[in-house]
Amino acid sequence: MRSTTQTQAPDARGVAWYLDKAMAYLVFGAGVSAILLIVGIFVFITKEGVGFVWDTVDLGQFFGSPAWRPTSDTPQYGALALIAGTASVTGLAMLIAVPFSLGAAIYIAEFAGGTQREALKILIELLAAIPSVVWGFIGLSVLNPLIIEWFDVPVGLGILNAGVILGLMAAPIMTTIAEDALRAVPDGYREAAEAMGATRWQVTWRVVLPGAKNGLTAAILLGVGRGFGETMAVLMASGHAVQLPDGVFDSVRALTATIAAELGETAVGSDHYQALFTLGILLFVVTFAINLTADLVVRGISNKD
């Protein structure tokens, strides 16, 4: 029997050819739909909020005033206290999460042996899967009384509580990403340095960390993005009071928590409703910028190698 491929005319199109074309369009559609969804979300948020930015509010007041009184007789829409709340909680969370997660990642990737490494990785991935409402609950019912007792303050819900909870939440995912970045450093580097007589720590400090610095930066930035976007745990642990904080025991309110708590009670299209969408635009822009930076930083590695 002769092979069919040899007898086919040069322009013949078989089933495989049509299937290939169909699949190409299908995966193209899937890829484009992701982009369309993002653009769609952005357009939706902007449409709901932009009228407010344009007509009602004065941006100087929006970014400069700490007075967020959307339901008073003369509503005021100053987001400064909310921005300060989100920034202070995220900042404290990163102070806690960065050393812990980098330390854990270095231990798992460079020092732990086979079974110990696997066990730790599984445990940390389990930690990352704890729902945020559970973390919020821990903040309310465990950390709150502890802070009151240890520091002798009237209320334990505030920057300290929310920062610790958010730090504990962000650490597992940051550890996982940082550990991936460390494992991506070729073993040949470690071997070459150890052959020179470098100790395990010297290898880590002088060779592995410089080699993985892009991936580690990305891990930290993704943790920051996670902190900015986290809603439920922060809502529960932060005290949810609109004020510019003076210290770590002060209650604050986060941008995300404000949207979550207030959106259900506003009339669609009202100034208050639009103001919340303006907060949404702000969050979207900031997290988008952080994620984009993280992405560009990671890409920095692949371009160089």
């Binding site: 450093v185 070729p186 040949g188 580097y189 071997e191 070459a192 340095a193 150890e194 052959a195 020179m196 007589g197 470098a198 100790t199 010297q202 002088r206 060779v207 410089p210 080699g211 160089k304 190698d305």
Partner: protein, 262 residues
Amino acid sequence: MVAAVLAESVAGDAKIVVKKFSVHYGAYTALSGVNLAVARNEIFSIVGPANAGKTSFLRVLNRMDALTSGMRYEGTVRFDGHDIRKWRNLYALRRRIGVVFPLPVGLPLSVFDNVAMAPRLRGVRHRDELEEIVERCLRRAALWGEVKDRLTALGSLLSGGQQQRLTIARALSQDPELLLLDEFSIAIDPVTTMKIEDVLLELKKEMTIIMVTNLVQQARRISDRMAFFHKGRCVEVGETAAMFDGDVRDEQTLDYLRGRFG
């Protein structure tokens, strides 16, 4: 036993003495029956077809076996008369031994930092001193001319041949007493290879050199004595010139040296 006799003949001034030596990976034996000695300030080459156990032998000499799970060796290896198995601080041992791997590994640091790493590990801090060491080592590795204007570029961005010479410069920056070269010229052009061979002949005044090579002519050009490894055994050890002249115990050795192997 000729090997044993030779081991005795250099034992008085031996840098390395290996006895009843074998290397195992789990249940697999990569190399066995090695008895040899390497004299101070000689170039000793090891030749043999693939899978002969040459690289395994080198890896044990600076105790890289301790870093490879499942790898272990039996017998004794004496470095300056001390059993390396009993050496507690392996880092101190490795700092006295320079290694060049067959596949070039430019660390993800600048060219300067690559070469300055070993001096920094032993505590050299002054910039002037580091610069002097880096330049001297890069010159000896025949790389200075090509990289002197881009010492801050990433070492891992150099070409394969340049990275290989970078690893040679790095090994020299340790000021090693013993230099282990595993196929150091695998990615280097013949002209540069010749330059480095000349440097090695200079260097042997200061250190002992053991090199594994697939190029028997390279072994002939620069080594004082050589060993022929085949199928996980050390077939024989002898003076390089004499062996190439046909003074061998085993016909296989001569066949390999004359390129009639297979």
